[in-house]
Subunit: 438 residues, 2 copies
């Protein structure tokens, strides 16, 4: 025996603990010990002395949720484009972005989004938006593990950058990440979509990703018209365009992936690409219902995302888990289409796998980053709790999130953020919307 272990933070006696490993095991009455930014022990009645102890006897502890597709700064545009499809949505949003989303707006919107994400149990977000330096600074300030990088259009976007300026920012991106700090994340490159970025430009991005070890995130096959637009622009459907340009070879993460042919599903699985399934946005914009059970059966990695708040209209991954579970049952006409624990895995470990971070986050395993959330299980809607995975998917909600830990730091305690004052973040957002929305 080595005697009492020293730790910085101890989660003591969690009533339930989920996602203990890649086999999705659960346990009861477990402690989780954290030193620095890592989990150093998981077990019953650990012999640990810690600076801070969270009594978890009324709590369920699980890995923080991974939002695999969002646009955090678009919190400022929440509710701006109702009752329209993807193309109608883009028209309204692009007009408004030019007015509200200067660098300051992006920073302020990312702070609001990161705050909302953390309060609702999301610890990692894959965030695509322009002015990524400001978005990253804003999200990191609040305490989120924020995966982002330069976004690319082949035309001047709302940020007004030329292609060469975009590539310059992309080459400097790892240095920006190092300078800004925050929870460790991989560099990312984010071509908006195959219908907005030309094939030659996509090839440049793929080459730079290879050079930097960056992940690539893009939109693909969100709806039928996007597929048609891509054929018009490139002569190919989105998956083919991404394949032809080398993007798929970089284990790309495709936002939405609703309207895929079966051969494209196989191609994506073979390429070890992932789909970020965003059922809330997909239904709201009437984009369609992705057959994620089929995707998973074909071997594709499928994570879950909210999309941005102008289409979804919030960042609630609990709502996404429940909708994903229910929608899969409708799509497959099968009440056993996907088990609750598989849905929780999609929202944690599968998201981590898609990001190339499965060795860092996604389960409560020793050596991983301490990204975890504690749900208060004392609400009436969680009684009785026969199977905790079922409760998380079909009964729990963001309102049950009591504590959130990212990289070993308690960033939400008793439902309140520890790094920022919520009221200040909100007032800055409202001021930005008022000022710039004229």
């Amino acid at each position: 025996m080595t005697g009492t272990m020293q730790a910085d933070l101890l989660i003591r006696g969690a009533r339930h603990a989920l996602m203990l490993d890649a086999e999705l095991r659960a346990g009861t009455g477990l402690d989780v010990a954290i030193a620095g930014d890592r989990i150093v022990a998981v077990g019953a009645a650990l012999d640990v002395a810690a600076d801070r102890v969270i009594d978890a006897q009324d709590h369920l502890v699980m890995p923080g949720l991974v939002n695999l597709h969002t646009h955090l700064p678009m919190t400022l545009l929440r509710g701006i484009a109702e009752d329209v499809d993807l193309q109608g949505f883009l028209e309204r949003v692009w007009a408004e972005e030019a007015r509200v989303m200067d660098q300051q707006g992006v920073r302020i919107g990312a702070r609001l989004g990161a705050l909302e994400a953390l309060l609702s149990g999301t610890t990692t977000a894959l965030d695509m938006y322009f002015h990524p330096v400001q978005a990253h600074e804003g999200a990191v300030e609040v305490g989120l593990r924020h995966v982002t990088g330069p976004v690319f259009f082949s035309f001047p976007g709302p940020d007004g950058l030329s292609w060469e300026q975009r590539m310059e920012l992309a080459r400097a991106w790892p240095a920006h990440l190092a300078r800004i700090g925050g929870p460790s994340v991989p560099p990312a490159l984010m071509p908006h979509a195959a219908f907005t970025v030309g094939t030659a430009h996509l090839r440049e991005i793929a080459a730079l990703a290879q050079e930097q070890g960056a992940i690539i995130h893009t939109h693909a096959s969100e709806n039928l018209r996007e597929n048609d637009d891509t054929v018009t622009a490139t002569g190919m459907r989105p998956v083919a365009a991404l394949q032809a340009s080398g993007i798929l070879g970089r284990r790309a993460i495709l936002g939405h992936g609703v309207q895929l042919h079966q051969d494209e599903v196989s191609e994506l699985a073979t390429a070890q690409a992932a789909v970020a399934h965003c059922p809330g946005s997909n239904l709201k914009l009437a984009s369609g219902a992705a057959d994620i059970v089929g995707y998973r059966a074909a071997g594709m990695c499928v994570g879950l995302g909210t999309d941005g708040c102008s289409s979804s209209n919030d960042l609630d991954m609990f709502a996404v888990m429940r909708l994903a579970a229910n929608l899969a049952r409708l799509v497959r006409d099968d009440p056993a289409a996907i088990a609750a624990r598989e849905v929780v895995a999609m929202a944690t470990l599968e998201g981590a796998r898609a990001l190339g971070m499965a060795d860092q986050i996604g389960t409560l395993e020793v050596g991983k980053q301490a990204d975890l959330i504690l749900l208060d299980t004392s609400a009436p809607h969680l009684v009785p709790m026969r199977d905790p995975y079922t409760s998380v998917v079909f009964s729990a909600g963001r309102g049950d999130v009591a504590h959130v830990v990212v990289a070993g730091e308690v960033v939400v305690a008793d439902g309140s953020p520890t790094r920022v004052r919520a009221r200040e973040v909100i007032e800055a957002a409202l001021a930005q919307v008022r000022t710039n929305a004229g």
Copy 2:
């Protein structure tokens, strides 16, 4: 001028007020004055002196939600039948009910359900379950407006009653309501379904309902197999069986109504029957997706419900509103299929209409019962709030419910129940499940 009005309760300066009338008007900066169990004034800067004032400058006030189809005592069976269809569900549930659901279990389960409902913003529930006396006593104790009545099967159900005993209870039901007290509700008679209650028995129920002025609630066309089972049992599909037995003539409220033919939709609209749309349960059990936009276009009254917690698995009407809005978009392949305000109306005024209570609840109008909820609008996920109806449907959740008023009484204050202690209700429920589930 009549000078200062006296009131018991004043909601002062609500940031937003929804459902001001049947035109679904909204307002800002409004006061709501309540005397006894009724709304006595709605307006800006009312000259009112009240015993109790709730400052609502950070709140949205709206009518309490109407859950038009649930089985409150089944909270005790939450999570008992996962990954099964309706028929597999019924097999598991009926076995467990015999063990857990004695009269005491029903009372305890109804208390837990009523507590969960109120905390999540539901002020009225149409609740179908056996041992209705105990269910009603339990729900009324917590403060819910609880519409229920005797349930009927043509075979001895889990309660072991004979047909004559059921009819006897039904004849005595108005007297039970008067004795138990609580927020005013109509009497109700609840034949389980046309495949479990024979046509002659349905006729008896229809006649008694006519005599008592009772509403009728039943299950109908929840899935395709139920339709087939009904044809086997009666030679008719459910709507035809209900029509033939005079049930439809009583403006019946049909739970689910997923698998209806177009002519049945027209028939129900003509009969002024209503459907309680339960999308969470319908998707979870893979029963199908009801085309509520089509139903409404045909003139049918459509309210929203959760169903019981063994199939849905909670009583969260906010989740139901959001799912109803999103599912309608998928079913109609139209992002403008139904506006957010129409969804809020379904969860309030349309439910009231179905219950024959539209003159009593469902809007914030003077003279109506004071059933209203206040949402705290200061959470990040509600910022900015461009259109409050959109925010309620697509961003808000039960966690935002701060105060709940039923029949003029504050039954939830600052998120906590005022009539019962939550911990005591929960512990009684857990004890009942442990003891009787062996």
